[in-house]
Amino acid sequence: MEIDAEYDSGSDVDSKRRAKGKNKPKPAARGKKAKADSVEESEEEEEEAPRKRKGRKKKEESEEESEEEQKGRRKKAAGSKKRAVKKDDSEEESEEEKGNKRKGGKKGASRKEKEEENNKEKKGNGKAAGKGGKDKQDDKDKKKNKGKNSSGSSSDDNSEDESMSEGEMARLKEEVEEKKKLIVTLRNKPWRMKRRLKCLKEAQAFVEKFEGALGKGKGRRLYAFKVMMTKVLMGMPYGSIARKTVPRDEQDSAMDFSVLFEFGVICYCLIWIKLLTFLQGYCKYSIMFYGYYNNQRSIGLLQFRLPLSYLLVGVGIFGYSLMVVIRTMARNANEGGDGAEEGAFTFSWKLFTSWDYLIGNPETADNKFASTTTSFKESIVDEQENLKDENIHLRRFLRVIANILILCCLGGSGYLIYYVVKRSQEFAKKDRNELTWLQKNEVEIVMSLLGLVCPPLFEVISELEEYHPRIALKWQLARIFALFLGNLYTFLFALFDEVNAKLDNEKEIKNETIWALKEYYDNYTLHHNVTENIPPPNISPADVIRGPCWETEVGIEFVKLTVSDIQVTYLTILIGDFLRAVIVRFLNYCWCWDLEAGFPSYGEFDISGNVLGLIFNQGMIWMGAFYAPGLVGINVLRLLSSMYYQCWAVMSCNVPHERVFKASRSNNFYMGLLLLVLFLSLMPVIYSIMTLPPSFDCGPFSGKDQMYDVIMETIEKDLPPFMADIFSYASNPGLIMPAVLLMVLAIYYLNAVSKAYQNSNMDLKRKMQMQRDEEKNRRNNKDSTNQVMKDLEDLLPNKSLIPPPSAEETEKPADQLSKSPKVTGKPGAAATGKGVNVKKDVSLAAANPRAPVTRPPGPRPPGPLPGNARGPLPGQGMGRGRGGPPPRR
């Protein structure tokens, strides 16, 4: 910039004139101001100063300016003028104009920006002067507004110092920047450590040497900030807690048992969600159940609003979980091909990624070798017999049968649960002491048992179907999913029945209470003849008539369910895995067949089943947490303990799956399930919050018609009135409907866009494949690499082996063709030389009969043929092989 300024000032008046002239074609946006002020442009001296100032400022800022600009400017600046000269100039000017200098405080910012714009537009087409003029006008404008405070001299000195090495400086700065970038990314370079260290040292030395000499002030500070930020951003993950803790906990499972990795990760995720929700609950002096909480509007000095926060936390958990799940899914989708190319690299992936470098245990390594080998063998077999369908009808029949059986199982289990829940309601009406433990816990036991028995049953049934293991796994998962979900929902419906019964019951109790109270007051008035200040009835809290508090009941059901689930899981592991392993191991010495290899063998660790169990457990927590906040705590304990417990069990008494089939290449399969479960568990909770009236005498919402009344109340009482207005507008259907509509439209649009991308993706993929195939074919057909050679080879054998027939062959078609165009007078003559040539000739002639007609009358040159005047040389033409096909067969 400085150069511009110097240049302008050097050539003084007329340069400015030029500047103004050139300014005209500039874009209006910039020019406007200038034009407005153009009246005042006559005072030349005044203009000098601002330009200068501007230049200086620019320089200070000029870090970002590219070299091109510099060059362009240099060019403009009086052709070959040397820097030193320019400096002199500027000095002179500064002396001349010192008197006139004015400084407009801090008008810098906006002007600088404008100048940068200018620069960009002007780059390369020598309009420095124009810009100068424009800037001048700007400056003047501002000057006028600001009044005159002269401070030119000091800043001028600065400008001279720096003007010296402007171009080099920019270059240096760029270099420094580059080096810094290098330092940051050094660890990504596949170099030897020595080279990296050397490089680092050099770069650091360079940066150190020049950074000090370079930018002062803003630019540098900005840079320092930037570097710091990158350091912070890049450095953070390496030492942060998140990174260190995650692996440590997983280590046991992951280190030696890579197949468990997936399981561990999901477990970990859930624990975190759980822990968070638990903490939120804890802050509220949480004790297990809904009913414990008070409906006092605010508590303590800090006015903690318990009911409000209860509701918000309850709903917020869903929001938070939803966000976490979706974000994880999005991240997973970004990583990896998302299964789009599944099957494209089966063998390659198997070969290069099946060894897990984490394996550091000989036994695990043996297992891995074995499983890798089997998986390879399987793939080979798959590949060999790709599709071999024998008796498809039988198979179809069997599959239908299997599905019917499974549907029966599902229906049966649903009915069983419904029946049991109904029965438990009967029991609930009786005196608790009469009931046996079994009767009290029937529902939970039945549900857990169903969860225990049905999956293996499904597995047995699915043997009928003979699907490929991967497909079979998916079916299996889907069925277990349906089972759990069905059970949960039946349970829930039965529970809601119960809740409705309780609500009726509650109404009676409520009426009774009110009646009793009224009676008490009436009696009190009668006996004591006072109408005011009646003391409240003197009943100890234990004797107060209380409603059934359905919320707590629901919470209790969920807690019972969870606890019994824990028990069943742990017992299964203890008996099904540990005991079995012990028996197999020690009875093997005195048994008639090999127990380890034969029938009972050791249990296999069923990853997908366990993950599914976790997911459902989580669903249960989501559902129950609103009515039993303590459930979250229980579940945290459960997950923590079960991680170590199961880890122990797996390590000591399980063997890995003989063949591991992941349900899906991408990790989003289970996440998708989790999302579905989250949604499904969200529904009943939200439904109950929105529709069912809370109990009148327990819980934070007692005394309200609906739970969400708390929010209304807060809005009315605690927020300023205009907020209430805003909320009332926002909740207006007229506003919500368009918002929903908008979202639907957005979804539709995004969906369409993604479809389009997908299509183009597929298209490109297909093209790539085609290209590959083509190339492959070409390579495989002949060793010749291009079309020309190939065609040549097509023709050559005929000629070289049996020359006379080829000549005849070519002559004949030539005759035929010549009839119509009547061009090639004597094809035979040409044919004497090369049969190929003749063909070529014919084809060309046929293509364009008009032109040759004009020429044949004249003497034909002996060598080249008529067509060749316009066409390619004979050799090339032949190569193209246009004449080839028709004459030859």
Partner: protein, 187 residues
């Protein structure tokens, strides 16, 4: 952490930090792991960068590597002399690349080198066969090995030169869902 001053200068540590994916603490831990392999060979003072090389036999006996069928290749690739004898720098290098933080590209590059047994910058059939045999402990028949190798070339060889170049390999491995989680050593 009293050792910090005696083993490295803080500049050295900073430099290592800039060149690897480790923190100071991890670097020191790695140093101790390195030293524990041969306490008599490795001095406790690295300020003047002594030329110490641990032979492959020691490196390969680390629990992290000893069950890995490719341990020799790993050591060879990361060692400066190409024979598996490692200096501390090489050692840090190796675990830095194999650490969790290393980006996919870097890992893919080194994975390629590891599987390129004959160092000709291409994974050719013989390399594939070697890889496969190491991976399955020679339990596949010759026919099966040949078939697998052919399939691999068929799948991943984009330019049809009958061997995998680095680009082919990267193209293939970048899409592998398990690559990041398996090509990774925790230390």
């Amino acid at each position: 952490m009293g050792n910090k001053q005696t083993i490295f200068t803080s500049q050295q540590l900073d430099a290592y930090q800039d060149c690897t994916y480790f923190t100071r603490k991890e670097i020191l831990r790695l140093f101790h792991r390195y030293r524990d392999l041969a306490p008599q060979l490795v001095p406790l003072d690295y300020k003047n960068q002594p030329e110490v090389r641990l032979p492959y036999e020691l490196i390969g006996s680390m629990p992290e590597l000893k069950d890995n069928p490719f341990r020799q290749r790993i050591a060879e690739v990361f060692s400066e002399d190409g024979e598996g004898n490692m200096t501390l720098d090489d050692f840090l290098d190796m675990f830095s690349v194999l650490s969790e933080m290393a980006p996919r590209d870097l890992k893919a590059y080194y994975a390629f080198k590891i599987y390129d047994f004959n160092n000709d910058d291409f994974i050719c059939k013989s390399d594939l066969e070697k890889t496969l045999n190491k991976l399955t402990r020679n339990e596949l028949t010759e026919d099966e090995v040949r078939m697998v190798c052919e399939k691999v070339i068929d799948e991943a060889d984009l330019d049809n030169d009958g061997r995998l170049s680095l680009e082919d390999f990267q193209h293939m491995i970048m899409r592998a869902p398990d690559f990041l989680s398996t090509f990774h050593i925790r230390i």
